[in-house]
Symmetry: C2
Subunit: 306 residues, 2 copies
Amino acid sequence: MYKNSGTNLASLSPAEIKDWVGSFDTVLTDCDGVIWVDNNTLPQATDVINKFIENGKQLFFVTNNSTKTRPEFVTKAVKLGFNVGVDNIISTAWLAARYLKAKNFTKKVYVVGSTGITRELDAVGIRHIGIGPDVLQGTLAEAVHAFTPDPEVGAVIVGFDEHFSFVKMMKAASYLNNQEVIFIGTNTDERFPMPDCVIPGTGSIVNAVTTCAERPPTVMGKPNKHICDILQQEYKVDPERTLMIGDRCNTDILLGKNCGFKTLLVETGIHKAEDIEKWAQSEDEETRRLVPDVYAGKLGDLLPYL
Amino acid sequence: MYKNSGTNLASLSPAEIKDWVGSFDTVLTDCDGVIWVDNNTLPQATDVINKFIENGKQLFFVTNNSTKTRPEFVTKAVKLGFNVGVDNIISTAWLAARYLKAKNFTKKVYVVGSTGITRELDAVGIRHIGIGPDVLQGTLAEAVHAFTPDPEVGAVIVGFDEHFSFVKMMKAASYLNNQEVIFIGTNTDERFPMPDCVIPGTGSIVNAVTTCAERPPTVMGKPNKHICDILQQEYKVDPERTLMIGDRCNTDILLGKNCGFKTLLVETGIHKAEDIEKWAQSEDEETRRLVPDVYAGKLGDLLPYL
């Protein structure tokens, strides 16, 4: 229904919207720009999410943010009024830990990232090194000389790290020079534009390491299909009866497309109706894939139909 | 003569080699891996270079290294026995300063790099900020709050910087958010493999900034054709009578191809005869462009014919 059509929710009749809502049992939603912005919920977003759960839909928050553990996300969500628990959260730090655990990984991880990642590793009993500040002491030659690779390192995870440095880049690339060392990137979001500055996203850090390691990572986050495999394995989710909601088409909507989900864009974050219109006209098939099934001004617009 | 043929110098007769040497008036050569490795000259390389100069060939060292000024390169070269002066050196830091000067640039440059770059800017009277350590103080939110963009910044140069950090990435991307700010990358070399570690190249730093700036830089270094334009403007070089010598095909040889020069690969650095053989068989035209006209075990092999 409305597949890839970029249909405006406001153009549908109440009966059509109710039919559409009835066509999915599972709801995946992005967080920032969909249900909240920083620590403020978006209008009626809490009501819509809680109504989905009340109505028996299986619900997951799917976030590319690697700086929080699942329990930390739950704490934030509950504080903001969402009736969710850890099983409702799919975060990239958790996916990375779960990915290694599923491989019976017993070595150490060199982490370019924060406690969001290391606490998820701790939770599954995987050892790690690397987090926190690590800057050049003395000259580069001295740093090279002082670096003794830990022979127990068997994986490198790269996520968001505000302490990212040349020294960390050197260490990550050096470990990855051994082709048996697993390379995981939490996500590839390019950046977060702020009013007066640009905060680099994990994608910039991942690209720096990918370039000097001369090999690509396995990416955990949206739009990578990996998430869908886990949902099908662990929660028996039926892709055809699943809706993905997001504010960014090249991550959220594309995840939906990659997994065969229905898709809804809300205009409270990155992308808007005019972007969809432009993409719909594109000659390029990949660009046209960014068009969602349906779009709405905000998530709260669904509330009257739940 | 031997255009794109990947001919082994050792397979040619002395007369053929002398003819070939007579077919160029200008010689461009890479440094590391061709004439020296770190502070050690390669066998007979000094003699070959000095013989070229004695024989009246116009000679240029063309280096992607952005950590030294031209006078600093000359100091090193003279110490190692090469009879060269600043006019024989084309370095990416110098190219970047020259590029801005040619645009009558009067604002400030935010530099991700070293004194190799800032001294070249000083030499042409262009102001700059940014070099040296710049790491996160306190939290990311505090760093964002503390960052007051300098309204005089009109360009960002990204080169090799062992103090590269998340904070520098944030500042570079923030300046580049203004589309009028000029974005220069000195070069895109991915990395320098060492015996026990990998040193990230400028290309990894440039890719990090490119990702969060969401725009590409103008690249000064090999294989960018920009170098050829300057040689033609300033030194009246005739591409058809110019030889480019290098050890890395995706920078040195490709520069030669991009500029219509003759090309010689020496096997004392990155690429070898077996790489050429593989590329020559490729279905991909871009890959076949990596094949040089001629290859030799080392630069010194030319000495008997000069």
